[in-house]
C-alpha cells in the first residue's frame, strides 16, 4: 500500500500490517525480513517507513492509572489526544507535549519529543518511568532506569531501531484547569528575540513564531508566546464552573492537495506581515484553552496537503545557546537569499538534556517548513554547513535528506547507540529508510 509520513514525501509502496495485540506483533516481527513500527505517522520524513510497516494504532489500551500519583500505564499506540481526553477531566495533563496531540506514546518515546517547556522539565524521556520493548527475536524486555538501563536510554530518540515499544509508564502532571495564562510579546528583531527568550526562562512554556523574510533592522522579528497553567482563580465565573471543559471548536479537513504555488514566498510574506501587524505591541495577557495554546495547527486536519502533492519537509536544528544570535542571523540571511519562503517558523530555547540519540541540547532550536522542490536540497545542504559550523545538529524525526556525514557530526554518540542496538536488533531486522540512509 502507498504510504508516507506527515510531509507526504517520500511516498512508498510497502506492506502495512495493522496490529492490535502483542502476540500479533510478535508473529509479524518474526515473519519479517525488515520492519519498523509506525504510530500516527507524524514524523515528517522517512523514519517510520520500511519494507514492512507495523502499524501500532490498534495497540491502544490504557492499562492502569493511579489517581494518587498520576502514573499511567498504557499500550504504545495510545495517542496523546486520548491521554488528554481521559485524564484532563481528572486533573492531569501531559508532562511534555509536541505541537500536535496526534502522536502515539510509542512515537513520543522513539523520537523523545520535546515541548515548549523543555528548558524547565526536559523531554518526554524525563517523564517516562519504564516501558516494555519487543526485540527482534520476539523477546519482551522490561526497561527502566534499574533494568536494561542502557537499552532504556538508547530507545529514547532511537527511532524504533532498538525494537518495538509495547507498553509504557508515564508520569502525568497535576493541573487545576484546562486553561493557560498566556502572554504574547511582540519582538522587533533577532537581538530583541534573544533578549526576550532570556527573560522568558522562568515561564513554564515559551516558544516564538518568527518571520523569516523580514530584513534589515527587523530581521528576525516575531512574536513570543509564553504561559503557565492557569489556576482556578484565574478563570472567569463561567469557566470556573467546569474548569476542565474547553469550548468546542469546529475542526476542518483540507479535502485535497493545494497547488504548490499557493504557499510561495510572496504569500508567506503577506501572511507574516498580516500576523505580525495583527499582534498588539508590547506584552499582552489572556486566558486561552490548552488546545489553542498547544495545538493551534490541529484544528485543520490534514493541513499538510497545503504544500501540494510533492510534499514538504521540516528542517529543525539546534545550536548552542551562546552562538544563537550569529547562527540564526546567518541562517535567516541564507534563506532570504535563496528566495524560498517558509511559512511556519518556530523558535525555542532548550535546556540541558541527557541521552544518546535524543535531539535536544542546551541552545536554540529553529523549525522551518519548506515545500519540496529541486532547488530546496541545495539550500538545505548550505544550511547544514552553517549548523555544523556552530556545532549544531538536526532532528531525526523531521529529517528526510541529511547526509550520513551530517548525522555523524551531530550525533557523536552514534557508536554507543549502535553497540546497544546490537543487543536487541542483532541482525538489523528493525530498520527504516532513514536508518539505511544514515547507515544506522
Amino acid at each position: 500500500m502507498k504510504i508516507s509520513n506527515w510531509g507526504n514525501f517520500p511516498v512508498v509502496d510497502v506492506q502495512v500490517d495493522s496490529v492490535s495485540t502483542i502476540p500479533e506483533i510478535q508473529s509479524s516481527v518474526l515473519e519479517s525480513v525488515e520492519c519498523i513500527a509506525r504510530g500516527l505517522g507524524r514524523c515528517y520524513g522517512d523514519s517510520a517507513l520500511a519494507a514492512k510497516i507495523i502499524d501500532m494504532q490498534g495497540l491502544n489500551r490504557i492499562l492502569s492509572f493511579d489517581p494518587q500519583t498520576g502514573i499511567v500505564e498504557c499500550e504504545a499506540g495510545v495517542s496523546l489526544k486520548d491521554l488528554i481526553d481521559v485524564f484532563l477531566p481528572k486533573g492531569w495533563f501531559l508532562p511534555v507535549t509536541p505541537g500536535t496531540k496526534f502522536v502515539t506514546v510509542g512515537g513520543a518515546i522513539a523520537s523523545d519529543v520535546h515541548g515548549k517547556n523543555h528548558h524547565k522539565v526536559g523531554s518526554f524521556s524525563s517523564h517516562t518511568l519504564s516501558f516494555t520493548l519487543l526485540t527482534e527475536n520476539g523477546e519482551i524486555l522490561f526497561c527502566s532506569d534499574n533494568q536494561n538501563k542502557e537499552i532504556f536510554h538508547a530507545t529514547f530518540g532511537g527511532m524504533g531501531l532498538t525494537g518495538i515499544i509495547l507498553t509504557a509508564k508515564v508520569q502525568l502532571k497535576p493541573v487545576e484547569t484546562a486553561f493557560i495564562a498566556q502572554e504574547t510579546v511582540k519582538v522587533k528583531n533577532l537581538e530583541h528575540m534573544i533578549e526576550v527568550f532570556e527573560q522568558s526562562e522562568p515561564f513554564t512554556y515559551s516558544v516564538a513564531w518568527t518571520d523569516i523574510l523580514s530584513s534589515g533592522s527587523s530581521l528576525g522579528r516575531g512574536v513570543m508566546i509564553r504561559g503557565e497553567h492557569a489556576t482556578l482563580d484565574q478563570l472567569n465565573e463561567k469557566q470556573k464552573l467546569t474548569p476542565f471543559t474547553i469550548p468546542k471548536k469546529p475542526t476542518v479537513t483540507l479535502p485535497f492537495y493545494l497547488p504548490q504555488f499557493v504557499l510561495n514566498s510572496l504569500t508567506v510574506m503577506a501572511f507574516n506581515a498580516l500576523y505580525f501587524g495583527k499582534t498588539p505591541a508590547g506584552t499582552n495577557k489572556s486566558i486561552v484553552d490548552y488546545d489553542s495554546f498547544f495545538y493551534p495547527l490541529d484544528i485543520v486536519h490534514q493541513w499538510n496537503r497545503g504544500y501540494g502533492k510533492r510534499g514538504f519537509t521540516q528542517y529543525q536544528f539546534v545550536i548552542p545557546k551562546e552562538s544563537g544570535l550569529n547562527a540564526l542571523r546567518e541562517i535567516y540571511t541564507a534563506i532570504q537569499q535563496s528566495g524560498q519562503g517558509s511559512f511556519l517558523v518556530v523558535l525555542k530555547l532548550f535546556g540541558e538534556q541527557e541521552g544518546i540519540l535524543n535531539f535536544p541540547k542546551r541552545g536554540y532550536t529553529l523549525a522551518l517548513d519548506f515545500a519540496i522542490k529541486p532547488q530546496l536540497f541545495p539550500l538545505l545542504d548550505a544550511l547544514d554547513e552553517i549548523v555544523k559550523k556552530y556545532d549544531g545538529r538536526l532532528y531525526l524525526t523531521k529529517d528526510v535528506r541529511m547526509s550520513k556525514d551530517m548525522f555523524d557530526f551531530g550525533y557523536p554518540q552514534r557508536e554507543l547507540f549502535e553497540t546497544i542496538k546490537k543487543t536487541t536488533n542483532v541482525t538489523g531486522r528493525f530498520s527504516s529508510l532513514q536508518a539505511k540512509r544514515l547507515g544506522l
Binding site: S20, I62, L63, V86
Partner: protein, 247 residues
C-alpha cells in the same frame, strides 16, 4: 439471578468489531461482561474500558466451541444482562474445509452451533424476565451461498435464520432481537484479504450503526447500509445464471 438494566454481555469480546462496539456502548454509560476464549487479552480490554469510561467491566472465559460449558457459564453470571451481543465468528479456509472435516466443523460450530448453544439459555432467561435485547453478528455472506466461502456462508445463513426465528418467538415477551449483517469490515479476520476499499467499513462504523439500530429497535441491520441493496441484487439473480458467476 438479579438483573442490571445497563449491563451488556459480549460474546467474543476480543474481536475488533466487539472492541469498537464496547466503546460505543460504554460512551452511553453501559457496563460489561466481556466473554472471550482468551481471558488475558480480554482483561487488557476491560482495564482500558474501565479507565476510559469509568464503567464496570468484568471478564469471563468462554469458548463458543465448547458447547458443554455453556450452561455452567450462564448459571455463573452474577446478573442477567440487559443486552447480549454475540460477535464470535470464524471465517476459516474454504479450500481447507472442503478437504478436511475438522476445519469444516470448526467453521460450523463457531458461527452456528456454538452461538446457538450459548444464546438459547440466555434467551430463555430473558423471556422469563420479560425484557432485554439479543444482538447477533451474522454476515451478508449468509444471504446467498457462494463458491468462495459457502461453509462460512451456510453457517451464517443458519445463524441468520436462528435469529429471525428467535425474534418471532421472543417478541411477545418483550425481548427484541437484532440481526447485524456486516459487509466487508477491516479487522483481523479480513487482514491480508484484498478487500475493495470503497466498500470496506471500519469496525467503529459498524459499532455506531449497531448502537443506533439497537436504540431504534431495528430488526435487521446491514452495515454499511448499501449492502442491503447489493445483497438484494445478489439474491435476485436467477440460479441458472448465478451458478455460472465466479464469486
Amino acid at each position: 439471578m438479579s438483573t442490571n438494566n445497563k449491563l451488556v454481555l459480549v460474546i467474543g469480546s476480543t474481536s475488533d468489531i466487539a472492541r469498537a462496539t464496547v466503546k460505543e456502548f460504554a460512551q452511553n454509560g453501559y457496563s460489561f461482561i466481556l466473554a472471550a476464549r482468551n481471558p488475558e487479552q480480554a482483561e487488557r480490554d476491560a482495564k482500558d474500558i474501565a479507565i476510559r469510561f469509568s464503567v464496570e467491566c468484568f471478564v469471563k472465559e468462554l469458548d463458543v466451541a465448547k458447547l458443554e460449558t455453556h450452561t455452567a457459564f450462564v448459571d455463573s453470571l452474577s446478573a442477567l444482562p440487559e443486552i447480549v451481543i454475540c460477535v464470535a465468528g470464524y471465517l476459516g479456509n474454504q479450500e481447507l474445509a472442503q478437504a478436511d472435516t475438522i476445519e469444516a466443523e470448526k467453521i460450523l460450530v463457531t458461527n452456528f452451533n456454538g452461538c446457538i448453544s450459548i444464546l438459547s439459555p440466555l434467551a430463555e432467561r430473558m423471556k422469563q424476565r420479560g425484557s432485554g435485547c439479543i444482538i447477533g453478528i451474522s454476515s451478508v455472506a449468509g444471504d446467498r451461498g457462494r463458491a468462495s466461502n459457502f461453509y462460512y456462508g451456510s453457517a451464517k445463513a443458519g445463524f441468520t435464520a436462528y435469529l429471525s426465528g428467535l425474534r418471532q418467538y421472543l417478541g411477545q415477551f418483550g425481548v427484541s432481537v437484532l440481526t447485524v449483517k456486516p459487509g466487508f469490515v477491516a479487522t483481523k479476520m479480513t487482514k491480508g484479504l484484498p478487500l475493495p476499499k470503497p466498500l470496506t467499513a471500519l469496525p467503529e462504523e459498524v459499532a455506531k450503526d449497531m448502537f443506533r439500530a439497537y436504540t431504534k429497535g431495528t430488526s435487521v441491520l446491514y452495515t454499511r447500509w448499501f449492502w442491503r441493496y447489493i445483497m438484494l441484487i445478489v439474491k435476485l439473480v436467477p440460479e441458472f445464471i448465478f451458478k455460472k458467476v465466479k464469486m
